[in-house]
């Protein structure tokens, strides 16, 4: 993929044209020839879509490439609070740490529920008919609940929005690695 830089505009070519101006078989032209005609490589920068935004294409003349602008999201930005008539009554954080924490905690509970659900019948059986929960099941459920505590503690310890946002809720991480 190449980009044509011409008159400050950038046009992306998925494939190079066969004929360009006075050059036949242009798609096989050397990089030097391509650059002479304004065709440059497109460099795709690595970026974290959770904490950064990828902007539009621009021509990096110093490096002779066309690339994207990557900008860190400002998680500390404030937004205006408006009343019903549209008047500004104050400001608040656009990205609230408590909000993202609540989402992560909800995700932890949801995942825990799914992990516990297959053995819930033993808990119900115990409550209804006083039949003991199998030892291995009890151990497994205790492990899941311990993981819930661990994960909730980790989430609650964060003070930075971006850190919470990037936090991956993962039960028994060592098991998953295996």
């Amino acid at each position: 993929m190449k980009a044509l830089v011409k008159n400050k505009s950038i046009i992306i070519y998925k494939t190079l044209p066969n004929v360009w101006n006075n050059i036949l078989n242009f798609k096989y032209a050397t990089d030097e020839v391509l650059i002479n005609h304004g065709f440059y490589d497109i460099a795709k920068p690595s970026y974290n879509p959770m904490t950064q935004t990828k902007g539009g294409l621009y021509f990096d003349e110093a490096n002779s490439i066309v690339t994207y602008d990557v900008t860190d999201i400002d998680f500390d930005q404030d937004i205006d609070i408006l009343d019903e008539e549209g008047n500004i009554t104050g400001t608040e954080k656009r990205y609230k740490v408590d909000d993202i924490k609540a989402l992560k905690l909800s995700e932890i509970k949801s995942k825990a529920g799914r992990l516990l659900q297959p053995t819930d019948w033993q808990v119900i059986r115990k409550a209804e008919r006083s039949i003991d929960i199998d030892t291995n099941i009890a151990t497994e459920r205790a492990g899941i609940l311990a993981e819930v505590n661990r994960l909730e503690t980790e989430v609650n310890a964060f003070i930075n929005y971006a850190d919470v946002l990037q936090y991956r809720v993962q039960f028994f991480p060592s098991d998953e690695i295996e």
Partner: protein
């Protein structure tokens, strides 16, 4: 008796001859020497046309060199020139014969078409 017909016998080489060119990075195409110019691509080449006169119509027959050679239509009579592609694509595949017809509408501008056959 007045001469009322121009026969091929009185036409110059530029109308009746075919010239075999040697492939090179820079090639001179003397339009006064032949009507048809042929060569097999063996390098990316720039074709510089000389002795161009307005109204010339020349044919280039270029056999592909294997896929990656470019052909640049270069100067006309030593000056930079504009070449307008009417239709067609160039194919450098080795079994392809490219038929390029160029009409010189001035000594700085030409229009051309490209066609192919499989050898």
């Amino acid at each position: 008796m007045a001469l009322t017909k121009i026969t091929s016998g009185v036409l110059g080489d530029e109308y009746t001859s075919s010239a075999q060119l040697s492939p090179a990075a820079e090639m001179t195409v003397d339009t006064s020497a032949a009507d048809i110019f042929t060569f097999t691509a063996a390098a990316s080449s720039t074709l510089n046309f000389t002795n161009v006169i307005v109204g010339d119509m020349k044919t280039l027959v270029i056999i592909g060199g294997g896929g990656s050679y470019t052909i640049t239509l270069g100067t006309m009579n030593g000056a930079s020139a504009t070449y307008n592609l009417i239709s067609g694509d160039y194919d450098d595949t080795s079994a392809i014969k490219n038929f390029i017809q160029i009409k010189f509408i001035s000594t700085t501008e030409a229009w051309y078409t490209i066609s192919q056959i499989l050898i």
